[in-house]
Amino acid sequence: MPVDTKRVRGPEVSQSPSLFLCKTAANKSFTQKDARVDGRQRGQVDVRSVFVRCGLISQAKGSAYIEAGNTKLICCVYGPREMERKDETDMKSGRLMTDMRFAPFSCRERGSWIQGSDEKDLSLMLLESLRPGVCLHKYPRSQIEVNVMVLENDGSVLAHAVTCASMALADAGIEMYDLVLGCSIRQESATYLIDPTYLEENGCNLASGSGDNFGSLTVAFLPSLNQISGLQSDGEMGEDILTGGVRTCIEGCFKLYPVIQQALTKAVRRKAPPSES
């Protein structure tokens, strides 16, 4: 694993103060009937309201910014550009390259600028989620670069990254079959929490709840084609709980759809030349 030699991180034995903080927070037990911290309901499709805006970065071909609760992400799209590697055997279709990074100040603990394996994994999943939506056969021998930067991580980062990236692709004028929307869910024994915050995502590990069905699930969905382009889950769940979770995420995506469409039409209107009057 590459080590960051340019920065002084403090002595090896030092520990982050947040480790000592967590012990007091864990004593508060989350009972099933509590409302969630930000006032949303458990067991209902209550996604956080999003603020989206396209066309922020003038240098990029397309860009988008999304804010959902405290999660803030920005995405830029560059391309189509000529492909760098000439030895590609499959020249008939273009290539999509994704890169997802966390800013060091985005999480509770300072991250490193060097890409860890988590980020590589998320970039790969972002690629798999976006690929079915983009008409790559229309861009032979080209590559399209999608770069997502997480400015603040307050939960369901991958889901919002997928939404943000597909908006940026649309803003860049890349031909797509449909927008790809992402939604994630956190399963906690009997109920689920849709669009979890960071604390909700990670707090469960400290809870001493027994029994099964603790896990999280992220789904990337193409609404008008009714196709799932990305699916990822971990934790342990029964098959019916998993199926229910996927259906709930699909509902969450349908709720987001009109908002994203509206933001895109606004962006197009802004870019369009002023009408002759």
Binding site: L231, S233, L242
Partner: protein, 291 residues
């Protein structure tokens, strides 16, 4: 992953066959290829296993070392996975070529084991907050013929079953600090309970149906696959969609059900086989790598 070039005519042939539940090598859609498992093949490790599934060969070695527990969970040990795609498998893996695939496989393994019941991590604790057992699970891909995830997960389960962790006890030394002492008897060791270790089932979507244990040719005909990791009770610990295509939600639900059924059925014969091999003890004829 190593790929083969498949012509359009071959694709159509494979698709039509799968539609009628008959694959190129005569299997049904839910049948695995011939699988051979052998444990305790590498003597320098604490546990090892070699699995060949068709022409895919995977070697897993488990080494137990004493380390410091993670700060958030002082009462538990942990597992570290590393997958190495050897250049023996295919020339594409030469140099750094296999790194990407290796990272993808390791990350999936971390997700699969990221739950409370797969391995009893509390049994790996020696002294809370100070010492714990860290199990380094190293996977080596020797030959690549499709379906890497399944072979790797079976090999990991077999290697963890075979792992013998030495028993240690803490004692006070003269200055009052704690010292770890190994027991004198080399056969006095702790075994892991691998009942709940999940097995991964990869289902490739070929045409309108899903096939288990796809060969490279069948993989070339599919655009998307679903990786499901199932325990013996039928709980699903990880689901991932891989590949550049999209899947219909209904087909995902059907696939998950098939995967759960196939995965659940894999555990009982596997544990039986591992127990039988264990019971043979010293009299077991070692096959090793040339068998």
């Amino acid at each position: 992953m190593a790929t083969v070039q498949v012509s359009e005519a071959e694709k159509v042939y494979i698709l039509h066959g799968v539609r009628d539940d008959l694959r190129v090598d005569g299997r049904g859609c839910e049948d695995y290829r011939h699988m051979e498992i052998e444990t305790d093949v590498v003597s320098n490790t604490d546990g090892s296993a070699k699995v060949s599934l068709g022409h895919t060969d995977v070697l897993v070695g488990v080494k137990a070392e004493i380390g410091k527990p993670r700060p958030m969970v002082p009462h538990e040990g942990y597992l570290e996975f590393f997958v190495d795609c050897s250049a023996n498998a295919t020339p594409e893996f030469e140099g750094r070529g296999g790194d990407e695939l290796g990272v993808e496989l390791s990350n999936t393994l971390y997700k699969v084991f990221n739950n409370r019941s797969s391995i009893d991590l509390k049994s790996l604790c020696i002294s809370p907050g100070e010492h714990c057992w860290v199990l380094y699970v190293d996977v080596l891909l020797l030959q690549c013929d499709g379906n890497l995830f399944d072979a790797i997960s079976v090999a990991i389960k077999a290697a963890l079953f075979n792992t013998k962790i030495p028993k240690v006890h803490l004692s006070e030394n003269e200055e009052g600090g704690k010292e770890i002492e190994l027991s004198d008897d080399p056969y006095d060791c702790m075994r892991l309970n691998v009942e709940n270790v999940p097995c991964i089932v990869t289902l490739c979507k070929v045409g309108y149906r899903h096939v288990v244990d796809a060969t490279l040719q069948e993989k070339a005909c599919s655009v998307a696959s679903l990786i499901i990791s199932v325990t013996h009770k039928g709980t699903i610990t990880c689901v991932r969609k891989v590949g550049g295509g999209s899947l219909d939600p209904e087909s995902i639900f059907e696939t998950t059900e098939t995967g759960k059924r196939v995965g659940k059925a894999l555990h009982a014969p596997l544990m039986e086989l591992l127990q039988k091999e264990e019971n043979l003890g010293k009299k077991r004829p070692k096959v090793g790598f040339l068998g």
